[in-house]
C-alpha cells in the first residue's frame, strides 16, 4: 500500500528524474539533428546528474541520522522509565503507610510520634518531587523544560541545603560549616531555587560521603563584580588529577566500588553540571591547595574543592523574571502531536518542531492520536496538555478525516486544534476543512508549517480566556468593560445553559462565577464542570454578595479556586486577582493546571 507519506517522499525526486530524462532525450535529439558539437552539453548534463545524485545522497544521510537519533532517544526513554519505576515502587508503600498513619484514621498517636510522621511524610513527598525533577532534567537537556527563575540569595539556599543535610552529616560524624565573605547585597542571583537546592544538597552529600569521620565540610561564598562563587570543600581522599573533569560524566566514579559502597547512582555530578549550565553558570573540581586547614598529612588525602560560579543578579526586585522566552529560546512552546503513518515524515517534522522549541509526541495512526488525546485530557498527567495535532489525511486503519471527526466529536478533545497535512487542497475536502483549524499542503516547507502552526496557536490563545457567569446583566457589562480595558478576552454567560454551551464551544482558561444564577444553578454548573474531563481542573474565582459557607466552598471548588465576598473586596481587587491568575496561566503554559 502506498501511503501519502511515501508518495510525498518519492514524488519529488522521481518528478525531477522524469524531467531530467526528458531534457536528456530532447537534447540528444537536438544534438543528433543538428549534428553539432554535443560534447559540451553532454558534459553539462553529466555534471547535473552527479549534482542531483549527491544532493539525494545527502538527503538520505540526513534522514538516516535523524532516524538513528530517534532510536537513541527511545533507548534513553526506556532507561529513564525503568529507573523511575524502580524508585516509585518502594515510595508507593512508604507514602501509603505514612499517609494512613499520619491521617489519624487508624487511631491517634502522641504528639512526638505525630511530628516524626509529619517529617517522614513531607520528606517522602520531597523525594517524589526530586525523582520527578531528575526526569525533568532529562527533558531539560533535550531542551524541553523551563526553569522557574527567581531572584534568590545563594547564602539562604546554602543554609537551607545545610539544614537538609545535617542529619546525614551527624550520622557520618562530619561537621558542616558555612561562611560568606561576599557583601550582603552581592549574594543574589537569578535561579530556580528548587534546582539549586538539588545541586547543593547533592554536592554536600558527596562531600560528606567521602569525608573521614571528625573532619569538616565547608561551604564558602565569595563574590566579585559580576560573579558569585560557592565552594564546597571536603577533606576526603581527593580526586586524581586525570579525573577532575570526568567525574562530571554520567556514571563516572573515582573507584568502581564507590557506587555500591557509597550508595550513589553515578548521576549526581552530571545532574549538577546540567542544572548549573542551564543557569548559565559553571562547576568544576579542584584539589585543595597543600597545607590547607585540616588537610591530612599524605598527598592523596588533602581533599577536593567543588567550585560553583553564577552570574550575579543586577535586578533590585525579587519579582519573577518576565521575558523568560528570550532568555531561553528553546523553552517549550507547547506540546504538538505529529500523526503520520510514514515514520520518515514524522521524524523530520518532529525534529523541525523540536528545533523551534516545541515538545513533540509522534503517533503512527489515528487510533493512537485519539487515545493519546483522551488520555492527556482526562489524566492529571505530568506532561502538559496537547497544544495542537498535526494530522495526515491518508492513513491505513482510521483515516485522517475519521480521526478528526472523532476528536471533534468528543468533549474532552474537541478543543484541541488540528492542522491537516495533506497533498489535497482544503477545497477538495470541505468537511475536513470545516472541522480543522489549519491546513498545510504537502510537500511543505519548514517555514510554511511553522507559520500555520503559529497562526493556529495564536488563534487558540485569543479565544475567550475568561468566562464570566453572571446573572445580572448590568454587573456583567461593568465587569467585562473592566477586563476588556486590560486587554483580556472575556465571554459572558447569563444562564447555566449558556455557560455550558460556551464551555463546550471552547474551554476558557478561567471561570468567574457570581453566585447569582436562579435555583442554585451555580452549584449545578460546578457539578457539571467537575464531570468534564477537559474542565474539571479549571481555575475559578467565585464572587458572591453573601458569605459562602465551608460546605458550599467544598461543593464549588474546581481547580485552583478563590472565594471572594463582594462585601469585603472592591471590584478592582477582583479584577487584579483575576488578571494575576490569567498571567500565571499564560506564564505556566507548559505546566498543567491541576
Amino acid at each position: 500500500m502506498i501511503t501519502e507519506g511515501h508518495r510525498r517522499m518519492s514524488l519529488f525526486p522521481s518528478a525531477f528524474i522524469v524531467l531530467l530524462l526528458t531534457t536528456v532525450c530532447l537534447l540528444t535529439i537536438l544534438t543528433l539533428r543538428l549534428g553539432a558539437r554535443s560534447r559540451n552539453q553532454r558534459r553539462k548534463l553529466d555534471s547535473l546528474d552527479v549534482e542531483l545524485k549527491r544532493s539525494r545522497e545527502q538527503g538520505e544521510q540526513q534522514k538516516k541520522k535523524l532516524v538513528e537519533r530517534s532510536g537513541l532517544d527511545n533507548v534513553k526513554d526506556e532507561f529513564i522509565s525503568t529507573v523511575s519505576h524502580e524508585l516509585r515502587t518502594p515510595l508507593t508503600s512508604i507514602r501509603g503507610a505514612l499517609g494512613l498513619l499520619s491521617s489519624g484514621l487508624l487511631g491517634n498517636v502522641d504528639a512526638k510520634a505525630q511530628n516524626l510522621l509529619r517529617i517522614a511524610s513531607s520528606n517522602t513527598e520531597r523525594l517524589i518531587r526530586l525523582i520527578n525533577d531528575i526526569l525533568d532534567l532529562e527533558r531539560m537537556e533535550s531542551g524541553r523544560a523551563a526553569l522557574n527563575l527567581r531572584r534568590c540569595s545563594i547564602y539562604d539556599l546554602a543554609g537551607e541545603a545545610m539544614d537538609t543535610m545535617a542529619g546525614m552529616a551527624d550520622a557520618a560524624g562530619v561537621r558542616l560549616e558555612l561562611s560568606c565573605s561576599a557583601p550582603r547585597d552581592s549574594i543574589y542571583f537569578d535561579s530556580d531555587p528548587d534546582r539549586i537546592l538539588q545541586v547543593l544538597t547533592n554536592l554536600l552529600s558527596n562531600a560528606i560521603k567521602f569525608s573521614p569521620p571528625a573532619s569538616k565540610v565547608s561551604i564558602q561564598i565569595e563574590a566579585n563584580l559580576d560573579s558569585l562563587f560557592l565552594k564546597v570543600i571536603d577533606r576526603g581522599r581527593g580526586i586524581p588529577a586525570d579525573q577532575l573533569e570526568s567525574v562530571f560524566d554520567r556514571f563516572q566514579q573515582v573507584e568502581s566500588s564507590d557506587s555500591t559502597r557509597k550508595g550513589g547512582t553515578g548521576l549526581g555530578l552530571a545532574i549538577c553540571r546540567s542544572i548549573i549550565q542551564q543557569h548559565g553558570g559553571a562547576i568544576w573540581a579542584q584539589p585543595n591547595p597543600p597545607n590547607q586547614n585540616g588537610a591530612g598529612p599524605e598527598q592523596g588525602a588533602r581533599g577536593t574543592t567543588l567550585w560553583v560560579q553564577f552570574s550575579r543578579s543586577t535586578r533590585a526586585s525579587d519579582a519573577p523574571l518576565p521575558p523568560l522566552a528570550t532568555r531561553f529560546a528553546r523553552r517549550g512552546k507547547g506540546l504538538i502531536v505529529v500523526c503520520d503513518d510514514d515514520p520518515g515524515v514524522r521524524v523530520v517534522v518532529a525534529e523541525q518542531l523540536r528545533q523551534h522549541g516545541y515538545d513533540v509526541i509522534e503517533a503512527g495512526s489515528g487510533e493512537e492520536v485519539i487515545t493519546l488525546a483522551h488520555e492527556q485530557a482526562i489524566r492529571q498527567a505530568p506532561t502538559p496538555p496537547i497544544s495542537a495535532i498535526l494530522l495526515d489525511l491518508y492513513m491505513p486503519g482510521l483515516s485522517g478525516s475519521e480521526t478528526l471527526q472523532q476528536l471533534k466529536g468528543a468533549t474532552a478533545t474537541a478543543a484541541i486544534p488540528v492542522i491537516i497535512l495533506s497533498a489535497v487542497a482544503p477545497t477538495e475536502r470541505p468537511l475536513c476543512a470545516a472541522n480543522a483549524q489549519g491546513w498545510v499542503r504537502k510537500p511543505f516547507s519548514e517555514e510554511l508549517l511553522l507559520a500555520e502552526l503559529g497562526r493556529v496557536l495564536e488563534t487558540r490563545d485569543a479565544t475567550c480566556q475568561i468566562l464570566l457567569v453572571e446573572g445580572d446583566q448590568k454587573v456583567a457589562e461593568a465587569m467585562m468593560a473592566g477586563f476588556e480595558e486590560a486587554g483580556v478576552r472575556i465571554g459572558h454567560a447569563s444562564t447555566f445553559q449558556k455557560a455550558v454551551d460556551q464551555c463546550l464551544a471552547g474551554p476558557p482558561g478561567l471561570l468567574i462565577l457570581d453566585l447569582t444564577l436562579p435555583d442554585g444553578e451555580d452549584f449545578t454548573l460546578v457539578d457539571w464542570l467537575r464531570r468534564q474531563p477537559a474542565l474539571h481542573a479549571l481555575p475559578m474565582v467565585v464572587y458572591s454578595g453573601r458569605d459562602i459557607s465551608e460546605g458550599e466552598m467544598l461543593k464549588l471548588r474546581l481547580g485552583p479556586t478563590q472565594f471572594l465576598s463582594k462585601a469585603k473586596v472592591e471590584f478592582g481587587e477582583v479584577e487584579e486577582l483575576v488578571l494575576a491568575m490569567v498571567d500565571r496561566l499564560r506564564g505556566s503554559a507548559a505546566v498543567p493546571v491541576a
Partner: protein
C-alpha cells in the same frame, strides 16, 4: 459496598492500598499477588466484583497480559480494570493508551484520595 480486587506482586503495596480503600471508603478488598492468581480470584468472586486494580510490572504475566486474558474470559470481561502503576513516563503512558483499560492511576498514590480517584474514574456517585 464496593468490592475491589487488587493485583500487585509487591506485598507491601497490596497491604497499603487495601488498608487505604478499606479505611477511607469502607470497601471490601480482595488481593492477589500475580496475574494468574488475580484472574482466578476474579472468576471466583465474579458476582459483586466492582473493579480490578491492576499493577503493570509483575514477573511472569504482566499487567497488560493479565488484562488481555481477562478480556478474553467472558465471565469476567465486563469488570472495569484500572491500572495502578509506577510507570509514569510519556513512553509508558502511550503504551497503556491503546490497551482499553477503564483508567490509569499512578504510583506513588495518595492513600487518602485513592478511593475517590477510583470512584471518579469509574463515575461512581456513592
Amino acid at each position: 459496598m464496593r468490592r475491589i480486587l487488587i493485583i500487585d506482586d509487591e506485598d507491601d503495596i497490596r497491604e497499603v492500598a487495601a488498608l487505604s480503600l478499606e479505611t477511607i471508603a469502607g470497601w471490601e478488598i480482595i488481593t492477589a499477588g500475580s496475574g494468574a492468581d488475580g484472574i482466578r480470584a476474579a472468576v471466583d468472586f465474579k458476582p459483586g466484583l466492582d473493579a480490578v486494580l491492576l499493577d503493570v510490572m509483575m514477573p511472569g504475566m504482566d499487567g497488560p497480559s493479565t488484562f488481555r486474558l481477562m478480556q478474553q474470559n467472558p465471565a469476567i470481561a465486563g469488570i472495569p480494570v484500572l491500572l495502578l502503576t509506577a510507570k509514569v513516563q510519556g513512553v509508558d503512558r502511550r503504551r497503556f493508551a491503546g490497551l482499553g483499560v477503564a483508567a490509569v492511576l499512578f504510583k506513588p498514590f495518595n492513600p487518602l484520595t485513592l478511593a475517590s480517584q477510583i470512584s471518579e474514574a469509574l463515575g461512581w456517585k456513592d
